[in-house]
């Protein structure tokens, strides 16, 4: 009898527990909609992760009732999360394709937030001066046409560098990535052979037998850091944080330019006039003497018509804060702020956000 009693008591307790938790679940939405606390979930690109984390932190200090979580899952995953509606906003370095936009079923806004650069970093002990690389040479290295560091083609641009008689080990991203998209976009625009053989893609088909793949910006960096005579491409922030050398890259005007706030801003300034209305654009290989050629916007993706007015308003307010007050945190993390003309365009986009047909912000 004892056993049966215990059994019944256990069942009784668990039923009570289930009852309690059920009630709690029922209580959830009502507290949220009363405005006491709002949680937003963002997910996507890893490149802007440092600045988004900073923003979320700073914004949270000023608005204690809003809690934003940003998960850096990658640009592709950010787009997927938006389409699957598992996040309140997505993030991507690479603008969404027309096809994906169509499959969203509702209008998606591209909100550029900051600018960044993809840099070529290398592990050459004897080379003290920054290496100078042209698109043609970068392409030849990744296609396997240039195999050794002391190749004549590299020597021509770097007459004073102590280039070793060693095999080059190119390192690329093995996962799908906005960084790869920007990098291959630059090469496709500049080198016809690259366009034919590899092309522009988030996950391009690398030439078999040339180089090794690594996962994530940190993966590529780790590989380059550990392997003598290797070269890889990463976002500028990651190279700076790890004190890796970055190559000067030859731009459209024929100048070798270092990636920095000024040169990335110059690239953005050159393309402001030609920015389309939906703000989806690539700014690689930009005009201008001072423009760094592998620069890129990074975007936050949101639905124009938000399903939940409370959350929608919070997203719109956060974006507004980010492109105004948030931009002052940008430089210390090695990103470039949006040009003022672009900020104006983005303001219009944020003000166009609605929920159930009602505008979320009064402009």
């Amino acid at each position: 009898m004892h056993l049966i009693k215990t059994f019944l008591i256990t069942i009784g307790i668990s039923l009570t527990l289930i009852g309690c938790s059920g009630q709690k679940i029922g209580d959830g939405p009502s507290t949220a909609s009363s405005g006491s606390s709002i949680r937003l979930q963002g997910s996507g690109a890893s490149f802007p992760k440092p600045i988004y984390e900073k923003w979320v932190n700073e914004y949270g200090k000023a608005n204690a009732n809003i809690k934003i979580d940003y998960q850096s899952t990658g640009s592709g995953a950010g787009q997927k999360a938006l389409l699957a509606k598992t996040a309140d906003f997505g993030a991507s370095d690479d603008p969404m394709s027309d096809e994906d936009l169509k499959s969203a079923g509702a209008e998606v806004l591209h909100i550029p937030t900051v600018l960044g650069a993809v840099v070529l970093t290398y592990n050459l002990e004897a080379v003290k001066e920054p290496l100078k690389l042209s698109a043609q040479n970068v392409s030849d290295i990744y296609l396997g046409n240039i195999k050794k560091w002391n190749d004549e083609r590299l020597k021509k641009d770097n007459p004073n560098a102590a280039l070793p008689d060693a095999d080059i080990l190119p390192v690329y991203r093995a996962d799908s990535s906005g960084t790869s998209a920007v990098f291959t976009d630059f090469l496709s625009k500049s080198v016809p052979e690259w366009k034919d053989k590899v092309g522009m893609n988030k996950q391009p088909s690398w030439i078999t037998g040339v180089g090794v793949g690594a996962k994530g910006n940190d993966g590529v960096m780790g590989q380059v850091k550990q392997t003598p005579n290797s070269v890889g491409y990463v976002e500028l922030t990651f190279a700076k944080a790890n004190n890796l050398p970055t190559a000067l890259v030859k731009n459209k005007a024929g100048e070798f330019v270092e990636a920095s706030l000024d040169t990335v801003s110059a690239a953005a300034a050159a393309s402001v006039a030609s920015m389309p209305d939906d703000l989806r654009t690539q700014i690689t290989n930009a005009d201008g003497k001072n423009a760094y050629p592998i620069s890129s916007y990074t975007y936050i993706l949101v639905y124009k018509d938000q399903p939940d007015p409370t959350k929608g308003k919070a997203v719109a307010d956060f974006l507004w804060w980010a492109i105004h007050d948030g931009e002052k945190f940008v430089k210390e993390l090695h990103y470039a702020p949006l040009p003022s003309e672009v900020v104006k365009k983005v303001e219009g986009k944020i003000n166009s956000m609605t929920s159930g047909g009602k505008a979320l912000r009064q402009s």
Binding site: S176, S205, G213
Partner: protein, 309 residues
């Protein structure tokens, strides 16, 4: 308790039956889900998916062969390196070492099993890869350079590094199981052998013979982990889908491909291809397990310790 009796037994049996059949249901459900989600590529590429040598998501060209090759070869390297060591450790622990030495060593081995795979991966990048690049690679090329396995450039990142990391990761599992198996062999057998004048080595041979099926089972468990390992392999294998005779060249495995790409796959066909290659991994594991079971039955022959595993 009188009124429970046969009725209670019935309930007990039904509960157990539900527990047992749930595992079958789960396997069937996983299989069904994977087949369903990989239908787009199953229909489009058919059996060619298995034998295609090119994996180019951008061109919607999917061939699983380099990944199957990478998975099998890296696992074989892992087993070739780890089985002798693991069995050696286990024999030492059970047959030779005094208790005060065996205890701490056994503890250390179990500790190895608890290290997360990312840590193995990091260790691979920072220690193992440079070691292979600076010492082991040149050494092998010097003395065995005529074998195609050891030709080509040595970057420290590639099949051999991946296999070696895997070997380290499966060693604790194999060791622990083999140790248990050896301990299960009755002491009377050892005593009988020693009493007949057998040496330590001869006695161990007899014990090993009786434990063979259990050891084979341990190897299969290790193989299971090697085939399914993701992160550590991704970090050192080079992630390049190619079939190369050289063990120094980069390669890729199915599990590593999935780890690196699943979250980012947005395209429907690509996602389908990834799920289908997951299905291939599922089947490869299945075949390997079945093969190992057969092997165990063969090796076990008449010995009664076969029931141990």
């Amino acid at each position: 308790m009188a009124q429970t009796g046969a009725f209670g037994d019935k309930i007990f049996r039904i509960v157990l039956l539900i527990a047992a059949s749930s595992i079958l249901l789960i396997v069937a459900a996983i299989f069904f889900m994977m087949v369903q989600n990989s239908l787009p590529t199953l229909e489009r590429f058919g059996i060619g998916f298995l034998f295609g040598g090119e994996w180019k998501p951008a061109q919607e060209e999917f061939g699983a062969l380099p990944f199957i090759y990478g998975t099998v070869v890296s696992s074989l390297i892992a087993l070739a390196l780890s089985v002798p060591i693991s069995v050696g450790i286990a024999i030492f622990l059970v047959e030779q070492a005094p208790r005060y030495i065996a205890r701490p060593i056994a503890f250390m081995v179990e500790l190895l099993a608890a290290i997360p795979s990312v840590v193995y991966g990091l260790w691979g990048i920072f220690v193992l890869a440079p070691f292979i690049r600076e010492y082991l690679g040149p050494f092998l090329q010097n003395y065995l350079g005529f074998v195609p396995l050891f030709q080509g450039r040595v970057t420290g990142i590639g099949m051999l590094t991946g296999g070696t990391i895997l070997a380290l990761m499966v060693t604790p599992i194999i060791t622990a199981v083999v140790r248990d198996v050896l301990e299960a062999v009755p002491t009377t057998q050892r005593e009988a052998a020693l009493a007949l004048g057998a040496t330590r080595w001869e006695t161990t041979q007899i014990v090993l013979g009786n434990a063979a099926s259990g050891i084979a089972g341990a190897v299969v468990l290790g193989l299971g982990r090697a085939i399914g390992e993701t992160m550590a392999v991704t970090m050192v294998i080079g992630n390049s889908p190619q079939i190369s005779a050289s063990l120094f060249e980069p390669a890729n495995t199915i599990a590593s491909l999935l780890a690196a790409n699943f979250a980012e796959a947005t395209d429907k066909v690509y996602l389908s291809a990834l799920i289908e290659i997951g299905l291939v991994l599922f089947l490869v594991t299945f075949v390997v397990n079945a093969f190992a079971k057969l092997l165990i039955m063969k090796v076990a022959g008449g010995t009664n310790s076969a029931k141990h595993v």
